[in-house]
Subunit: 199 residues, 2 copies
């Protein structure tokens, strides 16, 4: 069966929450997860939508809901500041790992989410990415070099363009055999789609 596509931005709280259940859920249904970083900033340019936490009224509610949704899921969460941040380097790093050291790509994604949303370390800071990679046995210098290479700049740009061309406008965005599900709160629908087929 085809892998489940999991589109995410490492600066997206709901992507973080969904990153905690998508793997076990896929496994229960004999699927793997294709982890696909994107950049929400690029999507916002196309949809014309503002950054969530900058939206009047909705922004305040969202901060409350991030933390409550984490408690609901039993997942640790501390609201990071600054928020949101640029995840372009981290995302290119994911693509580099997926190409050169695939076994470490998914652990890096989980570590990066945890660094930002639990330990409140700024993933846009090179020093944070260096420490994170070093702790995982990834060469920090090679990581830092890769995220500046045209190959991975282009790869991420193409991936974001592909997402937008396919109507993927937010994160997390889950695609199962072509069926799109947007948001951490589509977990129950995703579960039923996998267990019972299309509805």
């Amino acid at each position: 069966m085809a892998p489940i596509e999991f589109w995410f931005d490492l600066s997206s709280p709901y992507s973080y929450l969904a990153s905690r259940w998508i793997g076990p859920l896929a496994q229960r249904h004999g699927r793997t997860v294709d982890w696909k970083p994107l950049l929400l900033g690029a999507a916002f340019k196309v949809t014309g939508l503002p950054v969530l936490v900058d939206t009047p009224l909705k922004g305040d509610y969202s901060r409350h809901d991030f933390a409550r949704s984490a408690r609901f899921a039993g997942v640790p969460y501390r609201q990071p500041e600054p928020f949101p941040i640029s995840t372009v380097h981290a995302a290119r790093g994911v693509l580099w790992l997926q190409r050169t050291d695939p076994a470490r790509a998914e652990p890096f994604i989980h570590a990066a989410f945890g660094a930002y949303f639990v330990d409140n370390q700024d993933l846009s800071a090179p020093a944070v990415l260096a420490r994170l990679t070093r702790e995982m046995g990834i060469d920090p210098a090679a990581f830092a070099a890769a995220v500046q290479q045209a190959e991975f700049k282009d790869a991420l740009r193409r991936q974001v363009d592909t997402a937008l061309a396919r109507g993927i406008f937010g994160a997390p965005f889950i695609v199962i055999d072509g069926e799109p599900f947007w948001g951490n709160d589509r977990q129950a629908q995703v579960e039923r789609w996998l267990s019972g087929g299309p509805f």
Copy 2:
């Protein structure tokens, strides 16, 4: 125990879906529902957000998700056209019923949601509201007169202002003892809040 506030717009698909479960859920927890119509158009002016279905990419997804979420919930749904519509007359009519014939207010709300989202009757049309009220034993002429009265124009305006002042920016919006929940997809959190208390 205090009633559960259920803020809704009669032109909002997710409000319609939530209107089908909020009553039984409240009842299971010994609560009543305070049905509070608002106007999403006024909220969009404050948040600066566009109408959902007019948002690039997100609009197409949303139409797909309205129908799928209805199937998921086992609720009949046909995408109405035109969509969205002005619900200002219907909303004033709800306030009039709540003041003058409260036993018919909630049945009217369910009938109006069904008329629009199942039978695709345009609730902004006076003839549709006349037929709907007549079928329910409500005097259509009194209804039509009430929705033009300053008393109910003012009452709806005040209700929308109150919503916005309290940070209620969308629909459905559910408030339980001061705790805000936005969206049909917060059903599971609402359920847990009612059964287990704050989390």
